[in-house]
């Protein structure tokens, strides 16, 4: 499946407090309501830009640093973020994204500018910057994570196998 959307470009060290502030995330389990506040401390218009047609969130290094809040990938999903592309990811966010079904791609994001049109085929391992006419290589997911994603995330993996069944 190919995903096509435009890029919203942000910087390095985007932490989970920026993705969704603690003052919102402790209030409820309603991700749809929380999503309007996604990224608001770094891009006040993130939600309105991403929600209507979907977007790729493109960042620098260490994306998702900070807390373990799973609300972070969830509000990105609910703000219609199709995938996060970054030079590197913080560990807990990366796991949480896979577990909740948000695609994460580690690649050279210097090849992408704000507003560029991108197309991503995760299964085929192909990322294209359509605006610039370049293909951006990226490494495949670690096999364990690919297996979890193939099952539809960790919850579905457990439902299917009754526990961990990883090769």
């Amino acid at each position: 499946m190919t995903i096509e959307a435009s890029a919203i470009k942000l910087g390095d060290d985007i932490n989970t407090d920026y993705i969704i502030s603690g003052k919102y995330k402790f209030k409820s389990n309603d991700m749809e309501a929380m999503a309007v506040h996604a990224m608001e401390d770094v891009d006040a218009h993130y939600y309105e830009k991403a929600k209507p047609a979907g977007a790729f969130l493109v960042a620098g290094s260490n994306f998702g640093m900070g807390s373990s809040r799973e609300q972070a990938p969830l509000v990105l999903i609910h703000s219609n973020t199709k995938a996060v592309l970054a030079k590197s990811f913080a560990r807990i966010f990366y796991r949480n994204a896979i577990n909740t079904g948000l695609p994460v791609v580690e690649c050279d994001t210097d090849l992408i500018d704000d507003g560029d049109e991108l197309s991503l085929d995760l299964a085929a391992g192909v990322l294209r910057n359509v605006t610039k006419g370049v293909t951006i290589p990226f490494p495949p997911l670690p096999p364990v994570m690919a297996q979890l994603l193939a099952d539809g995330g960790l919850v579905e993996h457990f439902k299917k196998h009754g526990g961990f069944a990883l090769d």
Binding site: S68, R91, V155, L166
Partner: protein
Amino acid sequence: MGPIAGKTIAEKIFSAHSGTDAHAGDIVVADVDFVMGQDGTSPLAIKALERMGVEKVFDPKKVAVVMDHSSPSPIEGVSALHTIMREFGKRTGAKVYDVGCGVCHQLIPENGHVVPGDLMVGCDSHTCTYGALNVFSTGVGSTDGAAAMASGKLWFKVPETMKVTYTGDLQPGVFSKDLVLYLAGQIGADGATYKALEIGGPVIDALSVDARMTISNMAIEVGAKAGLMAADAKTVAWFEGRGERTPAPVAADADAEYCCELTYDATAIGPQVAKPHSVDNVSLIECVAGTPIQQGFLGTCTNGRLEDLGIAAGILKGRKVHPDVRFIVAPASKQILLDAIAAGYIQTLVEAGAALVTPGCGPCVGTHNGVPSDGENVISTANRNFKGRMGNSNAFVYLGSPATVAASVITGVITDPRPYLEGGAR
């Protein structure tokens, strides 16, 4: 090929918990000794368990949920989430730490739920705190937490280990908080991403267990998966009377393989302050001294322990908080509050002008108990100073040791604590 190298603490703990000969880079499914969640993460974990169709936890004695981040509840939305947690406890038998018990990272070790040599996960990034107690503990998200609560297992990539050694002598007015802020300044917010830290050396050996926990607590602030320390007699003594389980300390082999070894001379490290809006934006206190503050905060899983309250009380004894400053104090647990009352620290702090709030996370994460106003500066003993962290994106948070916070609330500006110490000694 030479002989096979020995193992790090992380490799040994993962080997013992997965029944494999685990080395850095291996993927293992390991047994966990304990699983914890707090009020910002447990409700999602409970929801994930429901979606998995799981009605029981793997062992009710090995699961706890803690109301600490937003506790007592400030609004009805939080009250509803707390209700979900209490009902989960009744339904599954999992331990519930309700309003007023304290911060999860104090309660889990304080009540003997973990012992040296354990592997545990918590749905909170500062779960790495118990590394100081020789526990491989790491933060996970709610769905990983739910999987661990259901099965008693989780998959891990065995991390490489970065060895950090502090040599020399800690100087008067310099504390473990300064040592870890210094590390963050040196290696940056992603300096140890995906890696375990093994932190040691004569300076660490000389620290109390309380002070060591401050350092391991902030391992995540350099991206680390764990902030491990060896167990010594102090560690083992700390667990006396805290539960029925026997500590089984794990030491690294002398020929263990590290991805990188860093050594810092503590003699040359002075008080440090992390400036807004990132934890690795660290400078010497001399560079920020004189910055006006409107709020001081003493507490959290980083610095809300008895020794921290004692350091602040020592500085504030016979002195007053500046009239233009609010000084908020949140002991990390009910037990610490009781011990601090017995030691006279609470009397001293409150007489000096402190506002004491419920044991728990206090205003650290911006949910309650002291949200700063627009344009205000806060000096805090917490572990994070991200923009908006304390609930207002237009406020500025500086991080320092309990001594630095105590000296600063007296003067109303960020202040070097050294002239305020009794006899100059720590």
